[in-house]
């Protein structure tokens, strides 16, 4: 079973942008109450950009990341990824995009506790329908890239926090996605291990990856080349940082 190809009908005009968000709204309905987690967010992100998203708790950062990562669809607005209109896709097409175009890194790692590091990294390849031999080879390569060649058969509870997050990064990268999304990836790590992960991100960025990272720590955001501040579901500022 392989990933269904995205039909060409959903293709929009491309102008070099990897991600184009046009007036994104996300509204949660809680009984009679409507919560607007995002209220009209627009931006574009070019390939190989390194973007930090900052803002206070509850401002809508995670909601935005879920939309970019195709885990969720906007209530209103249009989201175009690599020229494909994602906001009009069905479940299976979204799953295919998540599988191939997006690599997700979470604050709480979200590794499967009963599976080894290798098997965790193998998962996206399983859903891509890649044969076993090739899968194992690719998963090993990804783990080597995050310097965990000697921890492949360890389970998450046998690894340190930093090592777990590196397994998660390897899993996010194993399919060679266009975009790496990280929602507070250092939130559960101490400063030293956090910096270790950030070093890894720098390397990936240098290698051509597009990285979007949510954080509320200034030190972490400083690794990025562009910072988007959001507050109450709206973009407050969006600035390039020259270094």
């Amino acid at each position: 079973m392989s990933v269904a190809p995205v039909p060409p009908s959903t293709t929009a005009q491309t102008d070099g942008a990897l991600i184009r968000a046009e007036d994104l709204w996300r509204t949660y309905v809680m009984g009679a109450e409507e919560i607007h987690a995002l209220r009209g967010v627009s931006f574009t992100i070019a390939p190989n950009e390194y973007v930090a998203v900052m803002g206070p708790s509850g401002s809508g950062k995670s909601t935005l990341m879920n939309l970019i990562g195709c885990l969720d669809t906007p209530s209103r607005g249009r989201y175009v990824l690599r020229g494909k209109v994602v906001s009009e896709m069905n479940d299976d097409e979204l799953a295919a995009i998540r599988n191939r175009e997006i690599g997700f890194v979470f604050q709480t790692f979200n590794l499967l506790p009963r599976a080894t590091a290798l098997h965790n990294v193998e998962l996206p390849l399983v859903y891509a329908g890649i044969p076993k031999e090739e899968r194992l080879a690719q998963a090993r390569r990804a783990l080597e890239m995050v310097d965990l060649a000697d921890r492949m058969s360890h389970k998450p509870n046998e690894l340190s926090g930093g090592q777990r997050q590196r397994v998660a990064v390897a899993r996010a990268l194993v399919m060679g996605p266009a975009i790496l999304l990280a929602d507070e990836p250092t939130g559960n790590l101490d400063t030293v291990t956090g910096e270790e992960i950030m070093g890894l991100f720098e390397r990936l960025h240098a290698g051509g990856n597009t990285i979007i990272l949510v954080t509320h720590e200034k030190d972490i955001a400083d690794h990025a080349h562009r910072t988007i501040h959001i507050r109450d579901g709206k973009i407050e500022s969006d600035e390039e940082r020259r270094r």
Binding site: M1, V3, N66, G69, L71, D72, D91, D92, A95, A96, R98, N99, R100, F104, F106, N110, L111, L112, R114, A115, L123, P124, V126, Y127, A128, G129, R171, M175
Partner: protein
């Protein structure tokens, strides 16, 4: 996601909860093992019955005053009114039934037999015509000679004994020519019949055959006889019985609409009765099984719902990594089917042990070779049915898992 991957995930999940998995499939285990065991045991009994009953000879039938199987007291009282069957009836059947081979007669009673000081109780004393041991199937002798026409014609006080009598009275010593006492009547032993063993614990070797004339001299002539007949071959079985029925009805002046006032019995009659009894056992078993499978299915469904709830976050992660609805659906369906099939497999194992033990016990009681084989078709059916139960029970939990919103699932603690 290929099936093998789903199976691997499912097995890992089941292994992580061994005891819970086992308890979950208990209902299915009991359902499957009861049906497999009952099928095995009734099949064993069927074969045993067929061996024993039909060994009387499948071509033979008997005309008797009372039927073999009486199902009520009212029927028994009704049967009491029937007229005796006479030796002249036998002669009439001999004259009219050209589809018949040998035709003979027997009378019997149960008495104590003595030899010197040794007593053998409950011996079947049979008065028979000289051809009796040849009707249907041949009953050979270990030693001595069979009864002959001359013995019957002259009412000679001679007898053929069964192996039990031989054992009780003579052991390794010579039986031929010895005189035994049947009640108070002296009978000279002229032959010993080959051993047949037991049927439902009743010995088939505890008898004395006397010429029917000698028997009547001892016990009087005012007794109904049983006519023992055989068809010349299997194909003539129906014809032979019909011809016999016609003569008997004519001799008793039965009108067109009147039922027979005598019974024609074959080994089939007993087999039919036996089979209708086992059919009842089957029906009960199927009901019990269906009930335990339904309960088992509900339990499996419940545990699968628990399993889905426990793994909401895992489902979220899998979806974030690219699992489609159908991947998640398949994963949980495979888990549910494997779980139930495992219960089915354990049930078959249980049934094999149970029917082996029961076969040993029954074999002991009936002192006969008795086996209750667990058949491949029963195993296949049991696995199939328990898998279907798992599939049905898994549909609702699996579709709930598949339709989880990934964002909500990932937020789950």
């Amino acid at each position: 996601m290929p099936f093998s991957e789903a199976a691997r995930i499912a097995l890992a999940a089941l292994r992580a909860n061994k005891l819970r998995s086992f308890l979950t499939v208990l209902g299915i285990l009991i359902g499957v093992s009861s049906v497999v065991a009952v099928v095995a045991i009734t099949e064993g009994l069927d074969r045993y019955m067929a061996n024993q009953v039909l060994s009387l000879g499948s071509r033979s039938f008997s005309i008797q005053r009372m039927p073999d199987i009486i199902t009520s007291r009212a029927m028994w009282l009704e049967m009491q009114k029937r007229k005796d069957i006479l030796l002249s009836d036998m002669d009439a059947v001999k004259g009219a039934c050209d589809a018949c081979g040998e035709i003979g007669a027997r009378v019997q009673t149960t008495r104590t037999v003595k030899f010197g000081r040794t007593k053998q109780p409950d011996v079947e004393i049979m008065g028979v015509t000289e051809n009796f041991s040849r009707i249907g199937s041949v009953r050979d002798l270990i030693t001595g000679r069979q009864l002959i026409a001359d013995d019957v014609d002259t009412a000679r006080p001679v007898g053929v004994i069964g192996a039990d009598i031989m054992d009780a009275f003579f052991g390794q010593t010579e039986p031929l020519g010895k005189t035994i006492l049947v009640d108070s009547h002296e009978v000279r032993v002229i032959g010993v019949a080959e051993r047949k063993g037991k049927i439902f614990g009743n010995s088939q070797d505890n008898f004395v055959w006397l010429p029917i004339t000698t028997y009547r001299k001892f016990y009087g002539t005012r007794r109904s006889v049983t006519i023992q007949a055989e068809a010349r071959n299997m194909d003539l079985m129906e014809t032979a019985q019909d011809q016999t029925r016609v003569v008997m009805r004519a001799r008793r002046h039965l009108g067109f609409a009147k039922p027979d006032d005598f019974s024609i019995e074959t080994g089939e009659t007993v087999m039919d009765f036996w089979q209708s009894a086992t059919r009842g056992i089957y029906v009960v078993t199927i009901v019990v099984t269906a009930m335990s499978l339904i309960i088992g299915g509900v339990v499996v469904m419940n545990i699968m719902l628990v399993s889905v709830t426990e793994r909401v976050r895992e489902i979220g992660v899998r979806k974030a990594l690219g699992a489609r609805r159908r991947d998640i659906l398949r994963q949980f369906l495979v888990e549910s089917v494997l779980l139930s099939a495992l219960g089915g497999a354990l049930g078959i194992l249980g049934a094999a042990v149970f029917s082996m033990a029961l076969a040993a016990i029954l074999g002991g009681i009936m002192s006969a070779d008795f086996s209750a084989p667990v058949r491949l078709w029963a195993v296949t059916l049991a696995l199939f049915v328990s898998s279907v139960v798992g599939l049905v029970a898994g549909i609702y939990p699996a579709s709930r898992a598949a339709s989880l919103d990934p964002v909500v699932a990932l937020r789950n603690e």
